[in-house]
Amino acid sequence: MVLPQQLNPGAFDDYVGATSVEAGVRALADGKGTPVAGGTDLWLQKDLGVKPSGSRLVNIRRIASLRGIEERGGRIRVGALATMTDVLDSDLLRRLAPVLPATADRFASVQIRNVATIGGNIVNASPAADFVVPLLCLDAEVELACWRGEKVATRRLPLAELLVGPGRTRREPSELLTSVHFATPPADFHAAFCKSGPRPALEIARVSLCLAGRRAARRLTCVRLALGAVAPTPVRCRQTENMLEGAALDEGTIRRALDSLESEIAPIDDVRSSAWYRRHLARTYLEEELRRVVEG
């Protein structure tokens, strides 16, 4: 039997197993490295014949400092190598940002959650990336590291700015995504994630949605609304957020918000769904989530 791995063994001419950020970014410094951690996206794409971005395979999975989930000074840091299972099992996130474990619970299968990482879900830059959707609602920032001037240099930028289009980010080939940061949500913060696919598990979202905000008396303030699989990247829907901001969620407001959302997204027809059905799903999910807020 011919395995796909034999058809597409990957044109790697060098391999580095990094155990520190310094070793990782040095191996990426010439821009010819392909970082890998869990491998669930990269190995699949390679088997399908997609050429890896660089010919040096850089295994970052053993960089211990990129693991872990912690809170310090009112901000939560999720290491890039935190797996979906780590997120699902994190007592800290269940307490302070339960929308993230709830999202991990809808992510793929046990086998994939055991190895797939937060960092990988972000830099793979799928328009349907599950985890990016709630992170956009948390106004998350990412930290990128590179080797410059004989030392590790880092920069931060908002997650929304990192994402450019399908498979494209502002991460330079020499950079390593090291962590994700966001302000610890306030106690009255409400956030819900939902998505649709052909079966309950292992679905690549036809549409995903996260609605978040501070809930008080049938209203939301600090409203954040993000959707996946309706544009070239997961997107925040600012026009609809503004319309919902502090408004009494009566029938008229809900109707206007759904129309606003539909005008703000640009879904396409593809193998997973049609554009009109995606619009229908987006409206339905937003309506459901708004009614959930009203009902408390």
Binding site: Q6, V36, V110, V115
Partner: protein, 158 residues
């Protein structure tokens, strides 16, 4: 020609070494270089779980695991479940429940069941079913598979 990388790991309790292609999957190495044909290549996309193996105590899809990352790790395949005392309790439960039709998904199902029971021997039926979301049986014999895992987890409780 793809780069060769030398790796050393523990395979079903024994220390082994191999020279592997940098682009190979763990599944390809186990099947082609170690003749362990239990884990199967079916979808090759992480959807079906026929390639499920356990690495450092966590189940994963062997078809999507970079083989280079096997280095230094503890790998268990269905072949390693058999002991001096006979079949693993999960394997016995599958036989007793008749949880096998064509058998192609069975090694992956058994390894995922082993992982689920090791993680939580008190899992409810609903939790067991969710834990099998990444394993597909195209004979659709799920009822008996779930029965077998419930029986094996009962037997595993202290």
């Amino acid at each position: 020609m793809s780069l060769k990388v030398d790796i050393v790991f523990t395979l079903n309790g024994a220390a082994v070494r191999a020279s592997i292609s940098a682009g190979a999957s763990a599944l390809a190495v186990l099947r082609e270089q170690f003749d362990l044909a239990g884990a199967k290549l079916a979808c090759g996309e992480g959807e079906c779980g026929a390639c499920t193996i356990i690495v450092d105590g966590l189940s994963l899809n062997g078809c999507l695991m970079p083989a280079v990352d096997l280095d230094g790790r503890r790998v268990e395949t269905v072949e390693g479940l058999w002991r001096e005392t006979g079949l693993d309790p999960v394997q016995r439960a599958f036989i007793e429940a008749g949880a096998i039709q064509c058998g192609f998904c069975t090694p992956g199902m058994v390894m995922q069941a082993r992982h689920l029971i090791d993680r939580n021997p008190r899992a409810s039926e609903a939790e067991i079913r969710r834990g099998l979301e990444g394993n597909i049986c195209r004979c659709t014999g799920y009822r008996k598979i779930v029965d077998a895992i419930i029986a094996a987890s009962r037997a595993a409780r202290p």
